[in-house]
């Protein structure tokens, strides 16, 4: 089947079997390998992408269901070659990762959280990332990264809340 997906602001046309997950489609057809497979049954969250700005498990969607939504992957929040967004930089500052496998999912989740809530409490952050399992860090430096990003973004000259 032919599907037109809006991925990171670009229209991409793919030819897929109905059973191909959005995750596999992003990775194999569009070569966007930042989303990762950890369980393929919707528990670990490593496959997280944003669908119309909200975190969703791309392993639980078929590509054929995903047309018409704004799909954002980690590649879509990277400003440019060699550049890091404030959130990505904050993750580097606090070392909010080790192996990096859950990291794109965590960062996208952070993007969605901070777009909705620019002043999250620690509990808000923990709640937001509780859908993403990390096996390396014990979460502390991830929570600190998101708190640091929030603080820095509040200082930036941009709208606090998306409309």
């Amino acid at each position: 089947m032919r599907v037109e997906l809006i991925v990171n602001g670009e229209m991409r046309t793919v030819e897929v079997e109905p059973r191909m997950s959005l995750l596999d489609c992003l990775r194999e057809r569009l070569l966007l390998t930042g989303a990762h497979a950890g369980c393929e049954h919707g528990v670990c969250g490593a496959c997280t992408v944003l669908i119309d700005g909200a975190p969703a498990r791309s392993c639980l969607m078929f590509a054929v269901q995903a047309d018409g939504y704004a799909i954002t992957t980690i590649e879509g929040v990277t400003p440019g070659p060699g550049e890091l967004s404030p959130i990505q930089d904050a993750f580097c500052e606090t070392h909010g990762m080790q192996c990096g496998y859950c990291t794109p999912a965590m960062i996208l989740t952070a993007h969605a959280l901070l777009a909705d809530n620019p002043e999250p409490t620690r509990a808000d952050i923990v709640d937001a990332i509780s859908a993403n399992i990390c096996r390396c860090t014990g979460y502390a430096q991830i929570v600190e990264a998101i708190a640091l990003a929030a603080e820095r973004m509040r200082g930036l000259n941009q709208p606090a809340r998306k409309p």
Binding site: G34, G38, C92, H95, T137
Partner: protein
């Protein structure tokens, strides 16, 4: 090694690897594409034990996109069995079962197809005729005579049954006024990385090289793949620049790699296997220790333990790779941080019809620490003494280092009492106790948990000859090569894969420290295994010590050469040459100097200006043997195991809802002394991650089996990994007692947190439920079971209290 101040070591530097991960540009095994790759799915045995009578491949081979169906007999005819650690030739292990399958989920055939989905479709069409066989699941049952034997030719389920006696155990027991014994159980859990094992193998028949891209953490992986495939070692090329999505010990992947390696050679195209989560949980062979400890301690009226007897029986599952050695490594710290004078240790490894066990973070030390800590808590209770005070009385004192323990290992350095004191002060222990009592008064169960334990680090293979005298291995290496090119750029190498430990940052920092140049100027690359020097990979908490050491020594060689070139060119005696941040100058006349680029140019381009008999260029390698290593065990089984010993002390406050049985950690403190910390961000991450692992092992994670031999926790829906909700904030208190054996005084930290958290959590639970007369002696402590125990205890006390 004194605690001097460093330029870059111990400073709060960013971890350079993070840059690629935050933009999704990690290079994981499943990200690597090769044209023409086909995919593998496995056919698995549904029975815990069965004879394979027939495999009908016809329907599968006719399915769309299918290229091949491989069975165990064909693979066995073409390959050698996988290496085992013990001398157990009658317990062969192969990637696919041959004639007999020995655990539910074991691979009995492999399907190769154009896509993974098509391979799974075809795998369903493979018809296997099984004759179910008797099976045994429980470790003690497997050990007892009369139970079904997993490997008939081996004659029993016992892979290892060895008793060591170090010191005068019987005399110490006889002369001690008190003794007690207990049994504790460590349930079967594992590290379960988020990335499953993935491998792509591609045989190049023109170069006769098998290219292997794998998510692997395994010593001797390239040569074991070669051995199994009957290839020369130089015909297997493993790519070290693959990023591994977490391993913590388990990603050995040898059976996966041999399987796809064979298929690629046989079929003539690249073959890929990415375990799905079901394959991973049931048959990835990444389960962890499942251990019964019987501990007996002899102690005095002050609660000082003089002697200990420990019987450890481990259920390693249906086959044995290195897993029985997880009973051997803890010998390196068999007395924990305590001054126990004699030890009798009996190590028993048995087979059963469960999934195969693999190396789990700390290689058996965490279960052993749990057993030791349970014993010391029971000693405290027996004597009516405070648990903290009893530990203080037993801890090795700072003035006793280096400290020789009964099993022959010398602990290098430490100040355990100082770390405990720091934690107690930071936590305000008295206030913590008062808080506990206040929570109890509110109707909750509440407990304080604590654990003191060691992280043996630096690794060594000495448990191999100890448990298998036929294997006389005493070498354990790592290496680094530095090259300064003609432009003056510095490039250093790592000869293994990494799984997030920040090794590139480590190497850059160490070399930058030695050369006094910005670590970010040091390029770090990973040549493939054919272009690499020996490395034993990141196991046994060794890389800070070994990779750091190798990098240090290589950098020292480079520095020495620069000094020699400069002295010669400046026409000064060598003693007058001084190194400063890349330049070399005459210390009596500093304006006479050669800059970095001048020295580099001489080395590369001005042979006439080099000292006599000097190699041109600036390439230096160092292959490092583990400090304190190199000796075989004595006849009575004593040997120096690991070189360095880090220390940690956990202290936590926990409540348990008495109606629900639900534990909640309210405060958590850990004191950590891993010597000199090379990168604080990395070490902190290790400890936090280790504590999260420990929380999982203590409260949530279990590979549970039902009576029919089926793994009940088959997916992440039932195997519960801690999320951010389940890991409380942790305060880390640092202390530094440098190691005398390492270049900066660093010790390992890769296992920190996991070593003591399960013991500390068990301690907290027991403190909380002790008033009800409950003792919890097995892990994991599941909340519903805890709830049932509490309810039963309350019913019993209600029955007693109600009159008539």
């Amino acid at each position: 090694m004194s605690t001097k101040s460093f330029r870059f070591v111990s400073t709060d530097r960013r971890v350079r690897e993070d840059r690629r991960f935050v933009v999704g540009k990690g290079r994981f095994a499943a990200d690597i594409a090769a044209a023409g790759t086909r995919h593998v799915a496995l056919v698995t045995c549904p029975h815990p034990a069965a004879r394979i009578l027939a495999i009908d491949k016809v329907a599968a081979l006719a399915a769309p996109g299918v290229h091949y169906v491989l069975d165990g007999r064909e693979l066995a005819a073409a390959t050698q069995p996988l290496l085992a650690g013990l001398d157990t030739p009658k317990v062969p292990r192969r990637p696919i079962a041959v004639d007999v399958a020995r655990y539910a989920g074991e691979w009995v055939a492999a399907v190769v197809a154009d896509t993974r989905a098509l391979a799974e479709d075809a795998a369903e069409l493979v018809r296997v005729d099984y004759q179910p066989l008797p099976f045994v699941l429980d470790g003690e049952a497997a050990y007892a005579p009369g139970s079904p034997i997993v490997h008939a030719d081996h004659g029993s389920n016992v892979l290892l049954d060895r008793t060591f006696v170090w010191g005068e155990v019987e005399k110490d027991f006889t002369e001690s006024p008190h003794r007690l014994s207990l049994r504790v159980k460590w349930g079967r859990s594992s590290t379960v990385p988020i990335e499953t094992f993935a491998v792509l193998a591609s045989w190049d028949p023109w170069r006769e090289v098998l290219d292997v891209y794998a998510s692997v953490q395994m010593p001797r992986f390239p040569d074991q793949v070669a051995l199994a495939l009957k290839l020369p070692g130089s015909s297997v090329r493993v790519y070290n620049d693959v990023d591994v999505g977490g391993s913590y010990g388990v990603k050995r992947g040898i059976k996966h790699a041999v399987l796809v390696g064979y298929l690629s050679r046989r079929l003539g195209f690249p073959v890929r296997l990415v375990e799905d989560r079901l394959e991973n949980m049931r048959a990835g062979d990444g389960h962890g220790p499942e251990r019964n400890f019987d501990v007996e301690v002899a102690f005095d009226e002050m609660g000082v333990i003089r002697s200990m007897k420990m019987r450890a029986l481990d259920n390693v599952g249906a086959y044995a790779g290195r897993s029985p050695f997880q009973l051997g490594k803890p010998i390196s710290a068999i007395v924990g941080p305590y001054r126990i004078q004699s030890v009798q240790y009996r190590a028993i490894a048995v087979t059963s019809n469960k999934t195969v066990q693999e190396a789990v973070r700390a290689f058996g030390q965490s279960p052993t620490n749990y057993a030791i800590e349970r014993a010391i808590e029971e000693v405290a209770r027996h004597r009516g003494l405070d648990r903290l005070e009893v530990r203080r009385r037993n801890l090795i004192r700072a003035d006793e280092f280096p400290y020789l323990i009964p099993s022959g290992t010398t602990y290098d350095s430490g100040d355990y009492h100082a770390v405990v004191d720091k934690v107690v002060a930071r936590a305000d222990y008295a206030a913590l106790v008062a808080e506990r009592d206040r929570l109890r008064a509110q109707g909750l169960l509440a407990g304080i948990g604590m654990a003191a334990c060691l992280e043996p680090s630096g690794a060594n293979s000495t448990f191999e000859p100890l448990l298998n005298p036929k294997n006389e291995t005493t070498t354990y290496t790592d290496s680094c090569r530095i090259n300064v090119d003609v432009s003056g750029a510095v490039t250093a190498t790592i000869h293994t894969l990494s799984a997030g430990q920040g090794h590139e940052t480590l190497v850059g920092t160490v070399i930058g420290e030695v050369l006094e140049i910005d670590p970010d100027r040091i390029r770090v690359v990973r040549p493939d295994s054919l272009a690499s020097l020996p490395s034993q990979t990141p196991v046994g908490s060794r890389m800070a010590i070994m990779l750091g050491g190798a990098a240090f020594h290589a950098a020292q060689k480079l520095k020495a050469r620069l000094l020699a070139i400069a002295a010669h060119d400046l026409k000064i005696a060598p003693e007058r040459a001084a190194y400063g941040a890349g330049d070399v100058f005459d210390r009596t006349a500093p304006q006479n100097r050669r800059t970095w680029i001048e020295l580099v140019t001489i080395a590369h381009r001005n042979f006439h200006r080099l000292p006599p008999n000097t190699e041109p260029g600036l390439a230096f390698a160092h292959v490092m043997q583990v400090p304190t290593g190199g000796r075989l065990p004595t006849a009575d089984g004593r040997v120096q195991m690991y070189p360095c010993f880090a220390f940690e002390f956990h202290l936590l406050l926990m409540t348990i809802d008495p109606d629900l049985g639900k534990p909640e950690i309210k405060r958590y403190f850990v004191g950590h002394d891993c010597g000199t910390v090379i990168n604080p961000k990395i070490v902190r991450g290790m400890t936090m991650g280790g504590i999260a692992h420990g929380i999982g092992a203590a409260l949530y994670e279990e590979f549970a089996y039902d009576a029919q031999g089926q793994l009940v926790a088959q997916s992440l829906m039932d195997y519960l990994l801690p999320s951010a909700h389940e890991v409380p904030p942790v305060e880390i208190v640092h202390h530094v007692t440098p190691s005398p054996h390492t270049v900066f005084g660093q010790k390992g930290s890769g296992e920190s947190g996991y070593l003591g958290a399960p013991a500390a959590i068990a301690s907290a639970v027991n403190d909380a439920v002790r008033p009800l007369g409950i003792v919890v002696d097995s892990l994991p402590i599941k909340l519903a079971q805890l709830g049932d125990m509490i309810a039963a205890a309350r019913d019993k006390s209600n029955t007693v209290e109600v009159p008539k």
